[in-house]
Symmetry: C2
Subunit: 511 residues, 2 copies
């Protein structure tokens, strides 16, 4: 056993120090087939239970227009209780018209995506009220932080979609969407995000994207340039802004992701099957509303179900239950034939081993579940209350390693290396073999952050943990960031609009 | 998006604080089917390349007896070069006689295992020259550390096999096997480990196990009570101790695991296919020797292939290449029909996020590869140069969470929870629902180490990382450790033997 370690090994003299390897993390396909956690019969039962919830119990929609649309489609609406009972034929029609493959446009066309079964997209942590890093500490999010996170997300190809990493709390709510949409257009490259925080704000965001990306009405409607995440108010309730978002995104041809946030034992039943049945019912209700509002509109199934800690009642992420429900969610999404989103993320309050364990469980769960999009895949800690810069960098390393798995190893004659095996004597080494020298600088993944030096060199360099080293990585990344030309142009194109809408007072979430 | 976080959530009053959940991590079956990284054709090519290596190039066996056994079996032996060229018919005969299922006995019968396809066993880090913890720092391993690690391994059911966590460097080499075998018998419960460090030392260990566990010759031979890991000296060489170990374990009916340690770009070709072809050739050679020495002897395929860092030439673990070769190794093991071992572990010099990322990659890789046994699954850091107590505890959490995935969620009527969904009003919560209250205390995995409290409570408690908190967990575990009765009895039974062999000077590795 003694030889199963090489940590003290010294660098081979003459080994190349720079990777000549070309990598492409921009468009990824899942490396593993989808796995199962429930039997086929159980998946059918989950779906049937969800249909029964929709038909017999119903969902409360707080938005009158949503109730009217459902009523026109044949649902049973009780205006007193605001409850909408949705028959299985409405669900079936929605699933028949919802698209299986959705084109997602991006400010930089090189980062456009096709959102469909088999695609593997990652998005950073989103929606955090706070940010934290080792230099500036933990603090409420500001626009400057939001902009930094857009720049960081733009700098790594393994992040496929921009997210609102942090709330820009220093910008008044009526103006915040102008600032954040502007930041995405000005500094970003990937598929955009828009929060559903009132109809006027959503309309402003759409207008800015059209202006900033120089799209006419047809070009804007032809694909989804921005994406909104719709969280139902589990159990069985959809608030006004969320329903407005579903309707307005559908009619504009932009994608909404219907994501019940079901914590088993809190907003959802304590059993995983019960929580998934609720998730599925709520997601189907949202998908139905989108399809009623605009048949064929791009809409995604979503699942972000985890559990609460049984000692404290606090939410827990990256747990075995989280992973089981991810896999179950994937089975449900495939049962109805739609692409879908999942979520990773950590409960830990700090960028530590617990945080990585939790996030790695969620990331691998998303792989097992073949999630089309995994949100909160990097930087999300403290149960979403903070976006951690150092955690973001550590998580990127994990994402890049997972992305590497998408590329299968070569196995041709040259790769099988019989000649190299013949060349090197028993007990020798392959460092200087021709086979090695011709491939060495592109053979392996080149780490972003991992320190592979021995403990002596590592100690001399300050004995820094990967969390501490990550500070330098994000600082250098921000220092090296260069604004894309399309960003400068977009900023100029939206300037007058933003000035006018700011002068008008912006948009309130309820208007 | 804003509601996708609950970190600030307060504990629900009255939520149970103690888990009533029964878990069984003792005998696990893989939760996912084995995955592929190479096509079926490529696997066949890998096998054929390995056969060609064995037949055309050969393996150097430094032990004369090994060469003689191979020659008697029909291999072409060159005594000048010590090279043994092994024909495919010898390999075929070995694979025909090697058992597919192996019974592993343990000092505590409750921890006996069946080593076969589909079983999922974990072992802690092994063979580290140093230990490190936050209280006592990094230091050369001593017998006291070895004994502590046996106690820790005994305390968690998710560790299925004892390993020599650390070298007991304070015990003279000729006496070390007496001390470590004694420690396993005295303090341990799980399947034992014996290093192949000379024939007399191995014989001593067998004698101690027979004495300590009160086994007659037949009972000892009837199953494998201890396991040795045989590392070839890649490329294409097997040293004297290793060949002796293969022969002696085979003849005693004890299991050896033939594990080439192939680092692509160093002791193996730089291509993953080339490294696997070498691994496979060497493993087949060792398996053949075991079967020639004793047809039907318990022997396991082994794979511990990773890559070197291309910047430094240092070994790297938990890389994408490591995972790809794990999955490829699983394919090769299944191709020849044998159970097999893999390895996780970390390159990081410290118990940090890098370490967890690396170990989690290797653990999930082992799941994807359906490894029968995953060695170095907890505590192995610094590329195996140190066993980390805090890393051990953090890794145990990961192992327990993976073990939880083996149990599929319930999906019967009660679990689907329609009645609970009907009971709770829209926008309400399930904390007090009858469905919740009757299941709450056994619904979810109860963390070993994870802190789910909000940042305020966590800060008040000292803002400790999981690495820092892990210190308390291993300290409490050691304080709570109780020696099993069979350990006391075993210690008494071997005392005279150990005294005699110590007086005789023990056993040197070469004798």
């Amino acid at each position: 056993m003694g030889s199963e370690r090489m940590g003290g090994h010294r660098r081979h003299e003459g080994a190349p120090r720079v990777s000549a390897r070309a990598v492409n993390y921009r468009q990824l396909r899942h490396p593993f087939p989808p796995q199962q956690m429930f039997s086929d019969d159980a998946v059918a039962s989950l779906h049937q239970t969800a249909l029964r919830v929709l038909e017999d119990l119903g969902i409360r929609f707080l938005l009158p227009e949503a109730r009217r649309l459902f009523a026109e489609a044949g649902a049973l609406v009780d205006e007193d209780t605001q409850m909408v009972r949705i028959g299985c034929e409405i669900v079936a029609a929605a699933l028949a018209s919802a698209p299986r493959s959705i084109r997602l446009g991006a400010p930089d066309p090189a980062h456009a995506q096709v959102y469909e079964e088999g695609a593997m997209l990652f998005m950073g942590g989103a929606g955090c009220p706070n940010v934290t890093d080792l230099v500036r500490g933990r603090r409420p999010g500001r626009l400057a932080d939001y902009e930094e996170l857009i720049k960081l997300q733009s700098s790594f190809d393994v992040i496929h979609k921009m997210g609102a990493g942090v709330e820009a709390q220093d910008v008044p709510v009526p103006l915040r969407h102008l600032a954040t949409t502007g930041a995405q257009l000005t500094y970003g490259r990937k598929v955009m995000s828009t929060g559903s925080r009132g109809r006027r704000a959503v309309q402003d965001s759409f207008d800015m994207i059209r202006l900033g990306l120089n799209l006419d009405e047809a070009a804007f409607a032809a694909q989804s340039w921005t994406v909104t995440v719709i969280n139902t108010n589990s159990p069985r309730q959809v608030d006004q802004n969320m329903a407005e978002g579903i309707i307005d995104f559908a009619r504009a041809g932009q994608m909404s992701i219907i994501t019940p946030f079901c914590l088993a034992g809190a907003m959802a039943p304590v059993t995983l099957a019960g929580a998934l049945a609720l998730q599925h019912a709520e997601a189907l209700a949202g998908i139905a509303l989108a399809q009623i509002a605009a048949p064929g509109a791009p809409v995604s199934y979503g699942g972000f179900s985890s559990n609460v800690d049984m000692k404290s009642g606090a939410p827990a992420f990256g747990t075995p239950e989280h992973v089981k429900m991810q896999i179950g969610s994937g089975q449900l999404a495939r049962y109805i034939g739609l692409p879908w989103r999942s979520a990773a993320g950590a409960s830990s309050n700090v960028a530590d081993m617990q945080a990585t364990t939790e996030t790695m469980m969620g990331l691998w769960g998303a792989l097992m579940a073949n999630a089309t999009l995994t949100i909160h895949a990097a930087g999300w800690q403290e149960g979403g209350l903070s976006f951690g810069y150092e955690k973001f960098i550590n998580d990127l390393e994990a994402l890049q390693m997972l992305a590497e798995l998408c590329q299968r190893p070569e196995a041709d004659e040259a790769a099988l290396a019989f000649d190299a095996l013949a060349e090197v004597a028993p007990g020798g080494h392959f460092f200087g073999a021709a086979h090695t020298m011709s491939r060495y600088d592109r053979a392996f993944y080149a780490p972003l952050l991992a320190d592979l030096s021995n403990i002596g060199s590592w100690t001399e360099a300050g004995a820094k943990t990967s969390t501490e080293r990550a500070t330098g990585v994000w600082q250098r990344t921000l220092a090296d960031y260069r604004q894309p030309l399309h960003g400068q142009e977009a900023a100029e194109r939206v300037a007058a609009f933003v000035a006018r809408r700011t002068a008008e007072g912006g948009a309130s979430p309820i208007d």
